[in-house]
Amino acid sequence: MSSETKHKRKPARKPKIAVFKFASCDGCQLSLLDAEDELLGVVGAVDIAYFPEASRAMLKGPYDIGLVEGSVTTHEDANRIQEVRRQCKTLVTIGACATAGGIQALRNWKDVDEFIRVVYATPQFISTLKLSTPVAEHVPVDFELRGCPINKNQLIELITATLAGRKPNIPLYSVCVECKRKANVCVAVAGGIPCLGPVTQAGCGALCPSFDRGCYGCYGPMESPNTASLGHQFRILGQSDDQISRAFRGFNAWAWQFRRASEEYEHK
């Protein structure tokens, strides 16, 4: 932004950013505060207009960028997301809850009323929807940032790119590519450990294989996941159908590719 011009010109208005929370753990919005090196730079370049976790000042919309964390699980939130969409020029979902329904989407295969009875002594007080759904099932979304949690560097890249009017540089390939780049020994091939890396989008830096365990799918399906082939491989590694179904049914369970795969192995 060229605020250093010689002419006495009104400085350009800083873009307004808002952060909204739905059903979630707060971790993805915390990524913004965890960007310790970049935080003061970011707040210098943008106007954090609405971010209740960080500030009492809550400015009214419209906003240039709305970051939405969390899935839609209540009637009220289903209405609120419509209003959020109206208020935001660019709407970005951050994380697996907002993008795929989150771990709370496990209710989507069960009887939610039974779930509520298990957790709450007086079920009639609880108002919730039968499904936990991603934001894109309710309103158009301009960009979906993956991850459980998101990668803070990808978040900074996304904000920077949006402000510059360019496409963010966020890869859609699989975790396997990140493993190869880090020269990791393949935990599945060499160690016989079931790993979702081949079907999961990159973004974490192949963390789990780097810690001698299989990927469990935080970033959701990569652009062209071959879940059938991976399921076959899991069977060869001695996994039961129940285990395979559970592997796909994690933090991105409601993403359609994982959802379909989890259903294929269910109760067989």
Binding site: K21, L33, I48, E53, M58, G102, Q104, I116, V119
Partner: protein, 436 residues
């Protein structure tokens, strides 16, 4: 009844984790109603944990809270290890303490500087505070980063780390890797001492209450993962007895369940409770700092919890350095955890206080039943009790100032509503809180 009716209302509480609102109705100086409402949607963790294998539980429960995922992982692995009847390697025990130090540092710094301090200094947020107090905010960011660095080294990433496992870790660091943290931690220890001194210069309202403080107590150390649950009113129990002594009560004015001590009432968990019950277990450097800033147990002014958190920061940095000095890698990253039916209970000290987990497993190692009681739900009734006492003192102030002070009284507890919600009873009635 005389006196005008005033209502203090905050539709969206700021600088807390999760979604809640506050409603206080005063008639004259009498508090007619206090509601700390929680409209965060329920996520039903205890229900969908059923049928999952125990090895998945630390990863799943971490997702209850992005601020304190390690607390969830630690309570989960310890409860499951008790259900399976396995013991961990002493080196793993040390590493888990270090892991928790990292989480306490990042969480306490977040709260002390970014969520709580702006109240004392009159800023809406840390961003405004940074304009006038840049060196202080820069110190906070560097400190927070060091906490996150510990977590990342042991767990791969700051939020939802991936290395905690039943029986130990998926991978453990070598001695040299840990030594790389020493220089940062030595700075952090100094900066924490500075933090404590700085916190003591803030202005505190004169507000002392009688509390039942509840925290873990261990014979040799300031508590993280082990110890008996004790209180200043005589509780002294094992984790397995928790549900015999604490019950969830349904109160008339609220639809939230409140934890209470059976036969008594509200209680307080978290930094103040730990400090008051375990002052003698703090390392010398932390005790000395507490004396220097005239913070003596028992602290009974919740606004001073910011000072207590700062002293715990000093502890966490000193403890991290001790662990790194003593650490020798374990023979294996984790011990075998064979499938077995059983029930296990555990409590650990999350940054905000005790976090209780209970799991029942079947012979395939699948979860049959789960129960989780987070710190904020235990403090919730106590927060309302504080407000009932505190609100009359600020009732004469202009409404916006009185409201801000009451918000601050809530933030004294560093409440994590995302955590509390999955088990709290709640209704979504944000629009329903208008005073009549």
């Amino acid at each position: 009844m005389t006196g005008r009716t005033r209502t203090i209302r905050v539709d969206t509480l700021a600088r807390v984790e999760g979604e809640g609102s506050l409603y206080i109705k005063l008639v004259g100086e009498r508090v007619a109603d206090v509601k700390l409402k929680i409209f965060e949607p329920p996520r039903l963790f205890e229900a969908f944990l059923r049928g999952r294998h125990f090895s998945e539980v630390p990863d799943i429960t971490a997702r209850i809270c992005g601020i304190c995922p390690i607390a969830y992982q630690m309570s989960a692995v310890h409860a499951i290890e008790r259900a399976l009847g396995i013991s961990i390697d002493p080196a793993v025990r040390l590493l888990r303490r270090l892991f928790y130090c990292g989480e306490w540092i990042e969480s306490h710094v977040l709260h002390v500087y970014m969520l709580h301090a702006p109240d004392f200094l009159g800023y809406q947020d840390v961003i405004g505070m940074a304009k006038d107090h840049k060196p202080i905010v820069e110190r906070a960011l560097r400190l927070k980063k060091i906490g996150n660095r510990i977590v990342t080294l042991l767990g791969g990433r700051e939020i939802h780390p991936i290395s905690a496992a039943v029986g130990g870790f998926y991978k453990v660091p070598g001695k040299e890797q840990l030594r790389e943290l020493v220089e940062d931690l030595e700075w952090a220890l100094e900066a924490s001492v500075e933090t404590a001194r700085w916190s003591s210069t803030l202005e505190f309202p004169d507000f002392e209450q009688d509390y039942e403080f509840v925290a873990l107590r261990h014979p040799d150390e300031y508590p993280f993962n082990e110890g008996r649950l004790v209180s200043n009113l005589g509780i002294n129990i094992d984790a397995a007895e928790y549900e015999d002594h604490f019950i969830e009560q349904h109160v008339k004015y609220s639809n939230a369940l409140h934890s209470v001590v059976r036969g008594r009432g509200s209680y307080l968990v978290g930094p103040m409770a730990r400090f008051n019950l375990n002052f003698d277990k703090l390392p010398d450097v932390a005790r000395q700092v507490a004396r220097d800033i005239k913070l003596a147990a028992p602290v009974r002014n919740p606004f001073r919890s910011i000072m207590v958190r700062a002293v715990e920061l000093v502890f966490a940095c000193a403890e991290a350095l001790r662990v790194i000095r003593e650490y020798e890698p374990p023979a294996a990253p984790r011990v075998e955890a064979p499938n077995r039916a059983g029930v296990g209970h555990a409590m650990t000290e999350a940054p905000r206080g005790i976090l209780y987990h209970r799991y029942a497993l079947d012979e395939k190692g699948l979860v049959v039943a789960a129960k989780i009681v987070p710190p904020t739900s235990q403090n919730q009734k106590r927060i309302e009790d504080d407000l009932r006492e505190y609100a009359p003192r600020v009732v004469a102030w202009p409404l916006d100032e009185a409201t801000w002070k009451c918000e601050q009284a809530i933030r004294n507890y560093d409440p994590c509503i995302s955590c509390a919600t999955h088990f709290l009873k709640l209704t979504v009635e944000r629009q329903n809180t208008r005073g009549k």
